[in-house]
Symmetry: none
Subunit: 524 residues, 2 copies
Amino acid sequence: MSTPDTFHVYDTTLRDGAQQEGLNLSVADKLAIARHIDGLGVGFIEGGWPGANPKDTEFFAKAREELKLQNAQLAAFGATRRAGIKAADDPLIAALRDSGAGVVTLVAKSHDRHVELALRTTLEENLAMVRDTVSHLRAEGQRVFVDAEHFFNGYRENRAYALEVLNVAFEAGADVVALCDTNGGMLPNWVSDVVDDVLSSTSGRIGIHAHNDTGCAVANSLAAVEAGASHVQGCINGYGERTGNADLINVVANLELKLDRQVLPAGLLRDATRIAHAVAEVTNVPPSSRQPYVGVSAFAHKAGLHASAIKVDPNLYQHMDPEGIGNDMRLLVSDMAGRASIELKGRELGFELGKDVIVEVTAKVKELEQRGYTFDAADASFELLLAEAVEGSRPSYFEVESWRVITDSAPGEEAGSEATVKLMAGGDRLVVTGEGNGPVNALDHALRRAIQQLYPEIVKFELIDYKVRIVDQGHGTDAITRVLIETSDGESSWVTVGVGHNVIEASWEALVDGLAFGLRRHGA
Amino acid sequence: MSTPDTFHVYDTTLRDGAQQEGLNLSVADKLAIARHIDGLGVGFIEGGWPGANPKDTEFFAKAREELKLQNAQLAAFGATRRAGIKAADDPLIAALRDSGAGVVTLVAKSHDRHVELALRTTLEENLAMVRDTVSHLRAEGQRVFVDAEHFFNGYRENRAYALEVLNVAFEAGADVVALCDTNGGMLPNWVSDVVDDVLSSTSGRIGIHAHNDTGCAVANSLAAVEAGASHVQGCINGYGERTGNADLINVVANLELKLDRQVLPAGLLRDATRIAHAVAEVTNVPPSSRQPYVGVSAFAHKAGLHASAIKVDPNLYQHMDPEGIGNDMRLLVSDMAGRASIELKGRELGFELGKDVIVEVTAKVKELEQRGYTFDAADASFELLLAEAVEGSRPSYFEVESWRVITDSAPGEEAGSEATVKLMAGGDRLVVTGEGNGPVNALDHALRRAIQQLYPEIVKFELIDYKVRIVDQGHGTDAITRVLIETSDGESSWVTVGVGHNVIEASWEALVDGLAFGLRRHGA
């Protein structure tokens, strides 16, 4: 483990973040997101509630088999045992113990009225539940963290009881208690005062879990850390219920870049912008261009009046060097940005790019991104574009003449699609028809049938993900759509992008590039 | 004027907010936004820079004629005079004086390096420019505010000079100097310390102008006010360059609702949600559902486990009564949902559900969510499902016999789509064809053409968002797809969901439900 334990950066995107309205993650999504977040170097990734939720149970089972994390440990989230039974007899506690996660995070009530009204038990029994569950899991060899739910409201109503819950958790062996602003109504000075008091009234590591209902989640998290908390929870892109959780990248960036506290393995924060965007592609929630630190506008300047001063010293007009977070300064209406990153990216992909090629590719990328393309999430399309610039022509394995796809339905029957593709390949003109569950599936089948004799390796290729998004929101089905297609050859996978007014046309572009990229990789 | 002068709420949406990437306001837009913001009861609305910008000159001219503000005064923004001339001889200063605005807000450099590198003049001349411009405008009878640009960075580099600029401004007659965190890199504790020092080193009213680059614009504004600032600047919906300015409604809501400081005329904060959304309609920037206080998700709960406790006391689960800001509590229906939340959600939608209906709907929702539907993002589909359970049959305005859609392309041409829909409506069998940019657009056109004579209200309906995703990732275009469609009638919008192997079929389901929901709402 390269991430030290002195300060905990604890990600809860997969659990609390997933509570966001409209966000619905499959097990595969959760695995993909965990890999991205691990790349940021956080210490802990809370994966969900195994035992209470079949999807989360499956996530932990799959994670044991196939998730190789470099930096983070998984945490399994769950509640203290039910009232009136022993922790050892509670099947939900057993599920936590058996999840395979390195840490169990138990949510415990610390607000007296929630104990009585939501949990419907006595204040004494709630303390026993905390003590018994933590001790039991510790005895079973688990590391245990505790989330003190509704702590700040509970502290206001009944300080003594809220503190007693913390003390019981620490005595029973909890490594950290995170103070949760579950309803999100706190302000920074209040958080400071409470954390101050808690640290002098208990003896253990204190954490903070903030929500953004007052627009202060990031500031509240910093206030807690400055008051002595050494465990901070949050979500990538500030996902979460209501107004969201603290944006974890914002919190970490402020700690490292503003307050000089190294909390991630050195250098990893430079991947934060890429990771934030990659996670947004998986969740399919359009990221805010105004997002602090990682938003596409975060370092964008309407140069105008001060363009020459920016050239003299860009730091006069930005609060930090955007490279520190993997973002770029952008001068709007200018072509100054991006060349360095194109050069780096090319090198990463094995191309040593000459100056002219860099200029050409930078211009091309800018033009295409203007039209709705994204290359952050579509490495394979970017590599084809680089190959075209370096080799003079786009890798091409067949020449499409035309295609057509028909989808029809009648009541009571599933709709079916049929596609016809006309193309030249290997010197022959081929006209091939394919059927499918949907139009893109039918086009995919027709295209494969047409070229599989010439390129038998495509039998291994499979489309494993397909995403559509409106780029210029505001006109619905009449707008520009962007399609991302992920193709696998069973060993690795790659993503291609297509853009167009017509979703089928955009899909076709991504489909054709997906096959072309795979054929190129396989040396066809 | 009903807004007292003891505390200034100063809106700069029309000036600094308009610097946001992609935001482009016409004079009519600016007038409309000014009326909305006036309804919030702010004291000042900064309208732009007359004289420097023809659009802003026209805005002030039109405002004099036709803008009747109830609460706010307009402020005209501009710079101190040019170096080397008298303020009385600077045509830009004359334009400010003649704008008709109640206040002139002058931007002044307070950072020594900006004076030298951007303004290209001496530190002494910059002080003279501040003194001369403020005195001149005061002598002409103007009230003058000063924005100390890059103040916080300037203070760090050369505290004495930064404070001298403030003192010169106050001595020349400025009513307030706003400390601008122009580059947005500050944190709350730093703001506190600086405001503290400034207040003890100068004698005049201090204001704060914060940007959100660290995710702390709201907290920074509060920190300044708690340290003694009594003038706060910000923008509706946090618009602004890069990551935006402080969200003015968030700042005011925290001041009034959390810190008990009445800064708007009593009662007006209850219009804040409506006003934030109305401004977003004018700017055409889709509002964030997660926006603190006013976002559509800001008081939305996935009830699930705690639905019964919410029934007992909703305040256990929210940081304030959403009425205080003109927002509403909403319960989301998700796969975690139990009967209690279905009952509450039904009541919210105006259905008094019997026990049998609740059991039936709960089972139906669980079954549909298992198949890939999501209702927390598709309220309208859920309402149709409830209506079906309560009224015995699904609201139906036409009966579809079949549909077909063809998309084809040839190289060099944009792909086109053509749809044919056969249906019964109003006793007639209708066979109608529509063309479109894509298959769903073509189906939408055909369907509307078929029924618009019978239901003329659908002319107002517009598809404003369309999203597709794979539900069971792993098989790409062969998998189950989920489509979410948002339809608007120009006043409100609603989301419907469709699911199927075939993306076109799923889109068709969401499309048909979107029209059915709209027709039902409009009483067809």
